[in-house]
């Protein structure tokens, strides 16, 4: 099984290390041909406006869109903004694969970035809390009827799942725990 990490820009390397720790090969996705034979795709944190700009070159937007509508994907921070059905503040184009509305930079600027413990929802596999690193993070302001919350912070959903699509507004790739990466791998495995 091979996992792709969208690598037009952003925090690519920490995900590669996580998958390597879990014994899974990952590849950087920069052009449409890089999407061949992947079991799933990670859309990492970064700057969503810059990523959209780069995705629009070389036909990558269309290929990634096709991929994430058929196969497992996991958006983190900017990646969540890319996967959302609706983006506000400011409004921005997106791939529209998960039925949520995302508010960009909803907690404020970098001096408002923070680390906090997250509470698992009953939909999650265990009841342990998890470190959440939020960097100029977006907020999920609306969840569609088939979207399930996996983790919350002060009542806000910060990690959600709809079918084979995951979205989180924080950065587990910068924390010690591998468990969310493990969860994504099992999701990819199940849907092969």
């Amino acid at each position: 099984m091979r996992i792709g990490i969208l690598a037009v820009q952003g925090a690519v390397e920490p995900h590669r290390v996580k998958f390597e720790n879990l014994g899974v090969e990952s590849v950087q996705v920069k052009t449409p041909k890089d999407l061949v034979n992947l079991a799933g795709l990670v859309l990492p944190g970064g700057e969503s406006s810059s990523m959209i700009h780069l995705l629009k070159l070389n036909g990558l937007w269309e290929s990634v869109s096709e991929f994430v509508h058929q196969k497992p994907s996991w958006g983190l921070c900017a990646g969540t903004i890319l996967l959302a059905k609706e983006v506000i503040s400011p409004a921005q184009e997106s791939l529209g694969v998960i039925d949520i509305t995302v508010v960009r930079n909803a907690y404020g600027r970098q001096t408002e970035s923070f680390i906090s413990n997250l509470n698992p929802s009953p939909n999650w596999v265990d009841q342990e809390s998890l470190e959440g690193i939020f960097i100029r993070a977006p907020k999920i302001s609306r969840l569609g009827p088939s979207v399930k919350t996996l983790f919350t912070h002060h009542g806000d959903s910060v990690m959600v799942r709809e079918g084979i699509t995951l979205a989180s507004t924080f950065h587990p790739e910068l924390s010690e725990s591998n468990k969310l990466h493990q969860y994504f791998l099992s999701l990819c495995q199940e849907s092969r």
Binding site: A7, V8, Q9, G10, A11, V12, E13, P14, K30, T31, G45, G46, E47, S49, S50, H53, L54, L57, N58, C77, A78, P90, R104, N105, G108, R109, Q110, T111, E112, S113, F114, I115, I133, I135, R136, H171, L174
Partner: protein
């Protein structure tokens, strides 16, 4: 790593593989964002103009910084003078996302840099070599960039600094424990950081390139030499077609390994900034000599 440092280096992590552009006003900031910049750097004058006009170069005027923050959704960085912790305090209170304690501005303190651990806002600092990089990290910098030679349009100094850093890091990984104390003394760098680099073979914070990037090929060269992102200053707004060049440098930074894409995005760019031969610059004209 301290939690504070995780947040500071975390933002730098998000900027990797991207281009950070120098801007002096809102109009330039909008051009930069539209071209795909991951962040903009607010400063009073771009380095090429500082070089030409002379005088004291300071932090960008507060209203300019606010104006820039008001028009873009990407992170806004701003430069403060070396050692001028009050400029940094002001920039932090404006809620800029990163402060660049920069040799491009006229130093305010010829002995000490800012104690960057006292701030919540993260700092980036310039370095020419490993010792300088580790001294800045020891003071709390969360990102290192090469100094290069700002405003020269000449990539030679950035290349020198990237290569020096890489060679010195490689050397550290070959040394035994008993050699590290002496090495720390030679480098003028804190031993725990020297030890960390010798074990991990890289800097403990992200390492970006800056100073003299004028073309898409220059940006790609920096990426090949180990830079994780690229700062572009005078190169863009001193060129014939800034919008187009900005766009091309962004594409070249992502696709730095793909010569076909590089050739395509180097087409039809018009004239790049003229640039300076480094050997014609007197020592006092070299911005990279500022800081220590």
């Amino acid at each position: 790593m301290l939690p504070e440092m995780k947040l500071k280096t975390g933002l730098a992590e998000m900027l990797k593989g991207g281009v950070i552009m120098d801007v002096v006003n809102a109009e330039q900031a909008k051009i930069a964002e539209k071209a795909g910049a991951v962040a903009v750097m607010a400063l009073e004058r771009i380095p090429a103009d500082i070089r030409k006009e002379g005088g004291v170069a300071r932090m960008s005027p507060v209203d300019k910084v606010q104006e820039i923050m008001g028009v873009v959704s990407i992170p806004v960085m701003a430069k403060a003078r070396i050692g001028h912790f009050v400029e940094a305090m002001i920039l932090e209170s404006l809620r800029v996302d990163y402060v660049d304690e920069s040799e491009v501005l006229t130093p305010a303190d010829e002995q000490y840099h800012i104690d960057k651990f006292q701030f919540k806002v993260p700092f980036v600092c310039g370095a020419r070599n490993l010792g300088e990089a580790l001294r800045r990290i020891g003071e709390g910098a969360a990102m290192i960039r090469t100094k290069g030679e700002a405003g020269s349009g000449n990539i030679v100094e950035a290349v020198r600094h990237l290569r020096t850093l890489r060679t010195q890091i490689r050397r550290l990984t070959t040394l035994g424990r008993e050699e590290l104390v002496n090495e720390a003394k030679e480098l003028g760098a804190p031993l725990p950081l020297v030890d960390w680099v010798s074990k991990n073979g890289k800097l403990p914070v992200p390492n970006f390139a800056a100073g003299g990037v004028a073309t898409p090929a220059d940006a790609a060269l920096c990426m090949w030499l180990g830079a994780e992102s690229v700062f572009v200053g005078s190169g863009i707004f001193k060129s014939e077609d800034p919008e187009r060049l900005a766009h091309s440098i962004v594409e070249a930074t992502t696709h730095y390994q793909d010569a076909k894409i590089l050739a395509k995005c180097s087409q039809g760019l018009g004239t790049a900034m003229k640039g300076l031969d480094i050997h014609t610059l007197k020592e006092e004209e070299r911005l990279s000599e500022r800081g220590w």
